[in-house]
Symmetry: C2
Subunit: 422 residues, 2 copies
Amino acid sequence: MQATIITIGDEILIGQIVDSNSAFIAQELNTIGINVKQIFSIADNALAIKESITQAKKDTDIIILTGGLGPTKDDITKKTLCNYFNDTMLFYPEIEKHVKAIFKKYDLKYIAINKHQAEVPSKATVLFNEYGTAPGMWFDQEEKTIISLPGVPFEMKHLIREKVLAKLQEKYQRSHIAHQTILTYGKGESELAQDIAGWEDALPKFIKLAYLPSYGKVRLRLSGLHENKETLEKAIQTATDELIPLIEANFIGFEDDSLIQQLKKSLNKNKATVSTAESFTGGKLAGELTSISGSSSYFVGSIVSYATRIKEDVLQVPKDLIEKHSVVSKEVAEAMALGAQKIMQSDYAIATTGNAGPTKGDADAELGTVVIAIAHPNGVFSEIYNYGQPRDKVVKRAINQAIYLLLKKINKNEENMFASFK
Amino acid sequence: MQATIITIGDEILIGQIVDSNSAFIAQELNTIGINVKQIFSIADNALAIKESITQAKKDTDIIILTGGLGPTKDDITKKTLCNYFNDTMLFYPEIEKHVKAIFKKYDLKYIAINKHQAEVPSKATVLFNEYGTAPGMWFDQEEKTIISLPGVPFEMKHLIREKVLAKLQEKYQRSHIAHQTILTYGKGESELAQDIAGWEDALPKFIKLAYLPSYGKVRLRLSGLHENKETLEKAIQTATDELIPLIEANFIGFEDDSLIQQLKKSLNKNKATVSTAESFTGGKLAGELTSISGSSSYFVGSIVSYATRIKEDVLQVPKDLIEKHSVVSKEVAEAMALGAQKIMQSDYAIATTGNAGPTKGDADAELGTVVIAIAHPNGVFSEIYNYGQPRDKVVKRAINQAIYLLLKKINKNEENMFASFK
């Protein structure tokens, strides 16, 4: 069973926003065995909308459109669909009531053009949008289905999860799709590929392997498509079991077991806590450490010492240490980590200092220079890296590396570094 | 002049990664007057690659492909293009030399399969990739151009900026494209639309208006396409000048003048500094405040008090205040802001506390409840909001609102709130 996702909006085509809706929809469709063949991003333009639906109908059965359902004049998806299906609009009083209630809740003025939000082409099944004013629409064309959803991410997500998936499962018989992602850290993709070449060549034809490198991580993704669910799951499991020993030294975990999830497991297992002292990462390391639910079980807090004087006044880094070694140095990073550990009374503390660019800061260190220090119950250590440019890459790479260093430190007494996750 | 962007990679179609490359390419093409008609995301599959190029050639002259140029077996773009153009591979010793140097720099092992990175179809012009091992490729087919770039964002960006744009400008005569984006905050899109309906109807035919709402912001985007550059720029300027007085109370600034840029201007103008004390935002507000270059001119630092005891121990929020009012209260938020202001010795301080969800924390406040406090040179104030769910939306909305509240406070003595930006 194949689907096309069509995102409608000039803002995507001029690069003003990044289309993150399609990734969400693709993930959700995959969970019920529907494969996304292609994603089209097109303009707020009636001809483009009609042509892309016609094109999508050639190859795929399910077409999901997002965007262009707002109340303003640039939003033309509903009108275009009405026209495409030779249909007329029907007014739904219960939708208008709901729209008015939303306006009241957010203290916004309900005005004439909002009334149009309660109109839906008569051939469509309404997908009632609890979180927003634009209803979703479901059109059946024999075996084909065309679905139109608002582009606002949390409204779209609500409709996919609460309405669309169940209706699709009801309408279609589907093949089975399965993915398994194995996260590695610290080795390049070509070297990994060499390590596992024999295993890769022996994979069954219905399983594909992909290498997904990202800031020091490489994800190995196995994807399979098969009529028989049991055969598929068994083959993926066997392939995984055979793979792990080949990549042991770099194995971190599975799909949802990202670096940060693994850190959570390790800290929780040891009933340990962590805090951060951040310079160039500016709070983003703390942001990453608190990005998963349950983070309050291990994360205590952070001191972002952006100005040099905060390193001295709050983190208690001696002034002469900074003068002697500069703010981008192992000595200062280690003092920051010990300062955070002491102030936050955490078992571990991570400190970051560096020159992320694009211009040099208070220090003379080369652009891209990064120092990461880890304070632990028995002391402190630090590492220096150069992650080049641009700024954004330096910050992301350093955050991953900081989490990895801490994880390695916590787990180093295990028989195998990541033995606890197997 | 119209372009198609084609991103190649199963990881996009299963939703494992979000395609942010296309937005970058679209922006850059726009700056040289090339309009992106459509974006296709397709599988790592030879047939899909060939079909999408054929489809794109129908409507557009310039086709830019990204992805699938790595050294591993799942990367098939180069081989597919070689086949599509009935071509053979040519080995470039200078590319191999460069690839070896990169492996040496990052301390990676150079192995046999990396040699293929130095092969390029003979009909292609090589776009030398200084930052990576996969060369870009440029194919001329009379008036059409097919360009293949690596999918790694900073490599792709380098090739677009340093090689592709100049070559496209050399090859094609182009119409002129111009955009103007006006940022508003605090009013819904339908009410804004009503306020400016007369102005919108009077816009010249070659100018389009779009409304782009996002977490309390609404961007109004004017886009124009015209043969004559002067006519176009004048029309956009006139439209903008007429628009501003109609939306005065909600006007924040222009394209690059996001909320945070405006805050930077206001703080710099007043030679003032800011710090933050963060609970549920977990460092992400500090991350936002340090996301633009030059942020060290106004941002001092942050205390992320994720654990309640850090609110007491570090931020000096009285224990009985927390017991009496709970951590999610105006009283605690204000004490946090004053604590940060004092410790960081900043002129202003922003504090956040709330229940972002998905489960309740230390407080009994309803999910989605957010308190933002602003400490300023003459005192402190706070506001309570409920931003509903999900968690991610609550955090983003609160960060925007916090920056907005501070901006309003700093500028309130101006004749008009945002008078300084006009």
